[in-house]
Symmetry: C2
DNA sequence: GGTGCCAGTTACTTCAAGGGAACCGGCCTT
DNA sequence: AAGGCCGGTTCCCTTGAAGTAACTGGCACC
């Protein structure tokens, strides 16, 4: 199971002098941001997550959740019911990500248009 | 040249309801954070960037720089000198990234230890 | 004429993540 | 007995970024 192996942190994680070159939990995992957002308001079960995360497959969602659980940003709780129920919730550590994420989200809201314009211009001009 | 095609923004970029699921410029490009940090204090030339970005190859650096130029976060300036000189500098748009990046960096400084602990515990306990 | 510098390029390979489709096990209802 | 629900797993394929290594072009200096 490759996805349950703790992914090695990128070698360049903390280069001693300059602050973080990448964001551990959020980098290189396409759905991580959205998953965290979906859990912001409380625990959700597997199938509840699949709805807002339109397009994600069970496989990828399961993989992402396991890796984020490993990182300690969320917890998986299995209830002994039938049909089975499994809930995912942010940990306190996971909640601390919301602040920085908001900063990034604000940046995107303000600057995404500019970024797309830059790309478009680049495509036309050359 | 695949890397000069404007990469399509991820389809899930702005899902209307919830703020940005990923960071355009910084996601999925391993060296982007560090490159921006290296330009924070002023323009640098190609070979100057290779020093602090220990381990990066000319190819990857060139690719990254071109894609970031396309996104409008930096500019490439070619001087007609010899030997050739080319400088890269952050644009105003690029500078606006520094704030959110600082927030993320602060998060990492504060919580990286906890994250590694969570991983380690996961590895032991299961 | 050979060497070096700078800023790359080109071709090839590797690797991790994502996507698609099929399948599973337990229990419940019809 | 058949089908549905939930929460997955398994296998296989594709993709995109990164890494490796060799090579380029123009000029300048020795």
């Amino acid at each position: 199971m490759t996805q349950t192996d703790p992914a090695p942190l990128p070698a360049d994680l903390l280069p001693a002098d300059c602050p973080v070159p990448s964001v551990p939990v959020l980098g290189s995992r396409k759905w991580a941001w959205r998953i965290i957002r979906c859990l912001e308001d409380g625990p959700r079960r597997f199938s509840e997550l699949r709805v807002p995360l339109a397009g994600i497959t069970a496989k990828v969602l399961a993989e992402s959740l396991r890796s984020m659980e490993q990182d300690g940003v969320l917890v998986r709780t299995e209830f002994d019911e039938n049909p089975p129920r499994v809930e995912y919730a942010l940990t306190p550590l996971g909640r601390t990500l919301l602040g920085p994420m908001d900063a990034m989200c604000a940046w995107s809201r303000e600057n995404l248009a500019g970024l797309l314009a830059a790309r478009a211009e680049h495509e036309r001009g050359h």
